[in-house]
């Protein structure tokens, strides 16, 4: 771990101005990912600005859109608090489930909502500094592309990077069409969740569309009319492991008819992957096993597998079907 200057502040604008003004400065929130990466010499900040004392950690009600009130998650609230907040548990149980499917109780007590969005990939070649990795060292090559890539992407990858985004929470946020509120040196803006994370393209070093020094202040969950939901995570062990495939499934049903579906997948792409094809197919159809299967297959047809992750297509199909089944029972 490189030496760094540690400072703390309780003003967001001050934190933003310090980090914006220094190319190698970074924010420190929960620290669960950045310290891990600093110990591995992957992240090399020369300054950490501790923002945990900023007063942007509350869960509050968001003005209603179309009669359904939403929820605002303060960026520095802990994952545990978000998952257990009555507003979230009542209105967005899929988000609670997704958060609770991730990491461990200890890590969820430390990790912040904003930090969860900015987790970096767990690709082992990204972590092993002696190996080429375009995400860590642009232009050095992608070791996973022709390497061991069982855990890697099947959607939206490029020759430059086949890494996946590790978050569970973000998969639910994608399905919920959340908005990310950010504050930077140039002011505040709101980013649609689908635009927050990036595909690798030829700039895999950029995980998301945040500018250096921009600080996430809140995550907004707009009100919605989904009445059924489930977050399913399939992994190599029962708990405390990253997903092989995960699915956030939301359904608005009327009797046995699906009015609308929102489905996002984890463990398959450089960003939470919205299953738009499946959603389109399901709209207006009846909630049958056959329709679920067809929708899932339609979505997974677009996948492009690597040497070791072909299984993710069939597993993805089955995971979508199962998540929809369990959503229906919810």
């Amino acid at each position: 771990m490189r030496p760094f200057k540690y400072s703390k502040t309780s003003e967001a604008s001050k934190a933003v101005s310090i980090v914006s003004g220094s190319p190698k400065a970074q924010f420190l929130a929960g620290g669960t990912n950045i310290l891990d990466l600093m110990k591995e010499d992957v992240e090399r900040p020369d300054q950490l600005v501790d923002i945990t004392r900023l007063q942007i950690n509350q869960v509050t009600t968001l003005a209603s859109v179309g009669g359904k009130a939403g929820v605002k998650l303060g960026a520095l609230g802990k994952n545990t608090e978000a998952a257990n907040h009555p507003l979230v548990r009542q209105q967005f149980p899929v988000l609670s489930q997704a958060i609770l499917a991730g990491a461990s109780a200890q890590i969820r007590n430390m990790a912040t909502n904003g930090g969860n969005l900015n987790q970096r990939t767990r690709c082992p070649y990204f972590y092993e500094v002696s190996m080429p990795c375009n995400k860590r060292e642009p232009g050095s090559g992608c070791s996973a592309l022709k390497g061991i890539n069982r855990m890697h992407a099947i959607f939206g990858w490029s020759e430059n990077c086949v890494a996946v985004h590790p978050s569970d929470m973000c998969v639910a946020l994608a399905a919920l069409d959340a908005k990310v509120e950010v504050q930077g040196a140039k002011g505040k803006r709101s980013i649609d969740f689908k635009d927050y994370h990036r595909l690798p393209g030829d700039q895999p070093e950029k995980d998301n569309t945040l500018e250096h020094g921009e600080l996430i202040t809140a995550i907004d969950l707009p009100g919605n009319s989904f009445n059924k939901s489930y977050y399913l995570k399939i992994r190599d062990r029962a708990s405390y492991a990253f997903a092989l495939v995960s699915v956030a499934a939301l359904l608005e049903t009327n009797g046995s008819t699906i009015r609308r579906a929102s489905i996002a997948l984890g463990g398959v792409a450089h960003k939470p992957w919205r299953a738009y094809e499946a959603e389109k197919f399901l709209a207006g159809k009846s909630a049958t096993a056959e329709n679920f299967r067809q929708a899932a297959e339609l979505e997974m047809k677009q996948a492009k597998t690597l040497a070791h992750n072909e299984f993710k297509i069939e597993l993805g199909v089955r995971a979508i079907v199962q998540a929809l089944n369990q959503a229906l029972e919810s």
């Binding site: 771990m1 030496p3 760094f4 200057k5 540690y6 703390k8 420190l28 620290g31 669960t32 310290l35 891990d36 600093m38 110990k39 591995e40 950490l48 501790d50 945990t52 545990t80 998952a83 257990n84 009555p86 548990r89 009542q90 149980p93 609670s96 489930q97 609770l100 499917a101 990491a103 461990s104 109780a105 200890q106 890590i107 007590n109 430390m110 995570k233 029962a238 708990s239 405390y240």
Partner: protein, 265 residues
């Protein structure tokens, strides 16, 4: 099941041995060292005879054991941070390298070696401590960020010579083998019981919309303890230990014997 009761009474000999063991002969001994000795005294008071004898061997080793003073700065330290925090109820002032984790500060600066370094990357839970009452991983916590926080380690759970009920239950249910993950498991379990009381949910909680305290099924305990890896595989006993405290009733004896039916030799 036969339960060994912990006898708080020491014989005169044991008391003398204990005095010998913990004699404040060394002026160099820092406040941290003293705290450790006080802690050992507490533990021994709880443990009785065998333990005191057991420690006789350890004592020789502890004799020269002088932890660095928490405010001393090792040569070459840059980016120093000064802070005060409460550890096991005592305010401690530290001067340390900004890179130092809470885990290393506890172990190397404060001589509180109960919390263990199993992976140093948040993947095993052996370093679990309570910060402001919440279980966290001290290996991924910067010590510098702990200004004014209150930290409880495994050494701070036993109070006035009496084990915390979770500690006693781990002992009784053999909730460990090598013991290395145990301080983390116990801190985690202590927090878990509170979380359940507070109605916090887990991934295996059936209905998230239900409010109020959670009755912990084995499945709930397993999921909530999955952030603490035990390579010895003491999991069933860890679950039994936590259930016993949660439900307030004795776990059943866990093994059985059958007569041998066929003698070959």
């Amino acid at each position: 099941m036969r339960e060994e009761t912990i006898d708080p009474e020491l014989t005169a000999d044991e008391r003398r041995l204990l005095e010998d063991l913990l004699h404040d002969e060394n002026d160099d001994f820092s406040a941290a060292g003293l705290q450790r000795r006080n802690f050992l005294k507490q533990v021994m008071a709880a443990g009785g005879g065998v333990l005191a004898l057991q420690l006789a061997g350890e004592n020789n080793l502890l004799a020269q054991a002088v932890p660095a003073s928490p405010s001393a700065v090792p040569p070459g330290t840059i980016n120093t941070v000064k802070l005060s925090l409460k550890v096991n109820g005592v305010v401690r002032s530290l001067t340390l390298d900004s890179r130092m984790t809470l885990l290393d500060a506890l172990r190397e600066k404060l001589a509180l070696t109960g919390a263990k370094k199993g992976c140093d990357h948040g993947q095993c839970g052996a370093c679990t401590v309570l910060v402001d009452g919440q279980r966290v991983l001290s290996c991924l916590t910067l010590a510098a960020g702990c200004e004014a926080k209150s930290v409880t380690t495994i050494e701070g759970l036993a109070k006035s010579g009496k084990l915390h009920p979770v500690q006693a239950s781990f002992l009784k249910n053999d909730g460990f083998q090598c013991g290395y993950c145990t301080p983390g498991q116990i801190c985690s379990a202590v927090a878990l019981l509170k979380e359940a009381k507070n109605g916090e949910a887990s991934y295996v909680t059936k209905d998230l919309r239900t409010k109020g305290p959670v009755q912990l099924s084995p499945e709930e305990i397993r999921e909530r303890m999955s952030g603490n890896i035990c390579r010895c595989g003491a999991y069933p006993n860890i679950v039994a230990a936590i259930r016993e405290v949660h439900e307030g009733k004795d776990a059943a004896q866990a093994w059985s014997f059958v007569e041998q039916t066929n003698h070959s030799s």
